[in-house]
Amino acid sequence: MTTIAYTLSDSVTMTRRNVRRLLRYPSMTLLLVGMPIVFLVLFVYVFGGQLSHGLGSALAGGKVGRDGYLNYVAPGILLFTVAAAVQGTAIVVAMDMTGGIIDRFRTMAIARSSVLTGHVLAALIQTMAGIGIVTGFAVALGFRPSAGVVSWLAATGVLALFAFALVWLATALGLAARSVETASNTPMFITLLVFLGSGFVPASTMPAGLEQFARYQPFTPVTETLRGLLTGTAIGTNGIAAVAWSAGIAFISYICALHLYRNRRAS
């Protein structure tokens, strides 16, 4: 086999290992999927009636009241799912790094990057499965996207790309953390960014400084792209911004993660 074939084979092996670990520890995945579902119910049924008054008909997907707000908030909840999932990724990576098996891997003639690739791909599978469940739940509550097949595929692609970027970021955070506790705290800012964007209310309703921040942080263009693809709102330049942010975050996080992994000095 060639080096590339070995790298692929090792990455597949490691991905299988990590998927199995996630399946063996389902409480974590359930918690990560449960959070966005709780938020969805909370926002639609507790705040939704009131919040829907501020939305125009276009933003509400042509619906009024709670149903209208559900159409607006669903893309935000999907990104919240991504943010919650990658918080779990940072914990899983940090936990794995404290175990002795990583040292075993490092003394074996395997592709070095495969340890990280395995974590990233497994986390991506986990995140996309979570998105599937949350989407299904939103549809069950009355979310009615106007998207056709192509738009659905495009939306899945945008979510997957952004999830890929954030999973790499979480992996880097998990590697940088000195303890599992730290790893569970540092990705919290990612979750906060979901709220400081256009996920739950339009950025235009925020005070000036916050609005500026909301417009130029990565979650907003991704949210707007997703919303446009699913419910037909205007996307504009948000599509390009979403892809650029995703690629940029993925690339920088990948470099950082690899560097952290290579230079990790186990005690």
């Binding site: 084979s9 092996t13 290992r17 670990r21 175990g99 040292d103 075993r104 891997f105 003394t107 003639a109």
Partner: protein, 318 residues
């Protein structure tokens, strides 16, 4: 490839410091292919650091290290291809079963489907793990974990194996079993470097022993060579009365005694003529002896002789 005359492990002038603390201070080692070499020393002597350098986990600050003819710094992947490491802390995937752990190793060693199946089941069998193969590793006892750990290391058929304190924390039964496994490995030509803080373990297993103390090799040789260097042998006599104790001490050259325990210690080389002479002296003076024990020098004595402090004292150091 030259496999007989070339040593399996060569280390020259290895130094390693973490921050300000020097952990290894110029270590030289040569380990012959197909032998067991024990690195003996108390906690904090630098044993684990040496193993981490030999197994490419960390690089030395100064010095040259070759394993199976490959430089650990310049050709780490070539070294990784021929070594197996079982560390002090178990390197298992706790969320998986024993069988899954073994299969993971088989996949990472790029074994074909048929080889994978036969080697995994052969090793599980050899280490008595077949019955628990489908149980999650978290349910394993310490001895089972250590056996699985070693079995996983062997999946890739390494030519050089590093065992960092392979029996620390094991019960006597598991320890015996581990020793047997280690001996059987050498029988098939594998080279083993193990670290231990148990003197009897090094004595039991190793062809050669190096005593590591505070980052330096303070003695090296076969177990017998090391013991010969130490004048620690003596005969211990248990006498019935204080009177016979006094007579014995007066008669026997260099004797020391303990009045309370009614014990006399006489230095001896442990040979039969020396013992015969001792007994005849006691007979002539009509000294009754309740009990006689011959104490040959063990590695505890060696450690004391070469480091100037007993093992316990060294362990107490930070």
């Amino acid at each position: 490839m030259n496999t007989t005359s070339q040593p399996a492990i060569v280390a020259l002038g290895v130094r390693k410091a973490f921050d300000e603390t020097t952990v290894l201070d110029g270590v030289d080692l040569t380990v012959a292919e197909g032998s067991i070499f024990a690195l003996l020393g108390p906690n904090g002597a630098g044993k684990t650091t040496m193993v981490r350098i030999l197994s490419t986990l960390i690089t030395p600050d100064v010095g040259q290290v070759c394993v199976a003819g490959h430089d650990v710094v310049r050709e780490p992947d070539a070294v990784r291809g021929v070594i197996g490491v079982t560390g002090q802390f178990s390197a298992l995937d706790d969320l998986c079963t024993g069988l899954e752990n073994m299969r993971l190793m088989a996949d990472l060693n790029h074994l074909g489907r048929n080889t994978r199946q036969s080697r995994v089941s052969e090793l599980l069998d050899r280490f008595g793990l077949t019955d628990v193969a489908h149980k999650q590793v978290t349910t394993y006892s310490g001895g089972l974990r250590r056996r699985l750990d070693l079995a996983m290391t062997l999946v890739g058929e390494p030519r050089v194996i590093f065992l960092d304190e392979p029996t620390t924390g094991l019960d006597p039964g598991s320890r015996r079993m581990m020793w047997d496994s280690i001996r059987r490995l050498v029988a098939v030509g594998v080279t083993i470097l193990l670290t231990t803080q148990y003197l009897d373990e090094a004595d039991e297993l190793a062809d050669r022993i190096a005593v590591l103390d505070r980052g330096r090799i303070v003695a090296e040789g076969t177990p017998d060579e090391l013991k010969r260097r130490v004048p620690g042998g003596h005969v211990r006599l248990q006498v019935p009365t204080a009177r016979s104790l006094q007579v014995a001490v007066a008669l026997l050259h260099g004797a020391s005694y303990d009045e309370e325990k009614l014990e006399v210690q006489v230095p001896t080389d442990g040979t039969v003529p020396a013992l015969r002479h001792l007994l005849s002296v006691l007979d002539e003076a009509d000294i009754q002896v309740d009990q006689l024990t011959v104490h040959t020098p063990d590695l505890d004595d060696v450690f004391f002789a070469v480091t100037g402090h007993p093992t316990e004292e060294a362990i107490a150091l930070p």
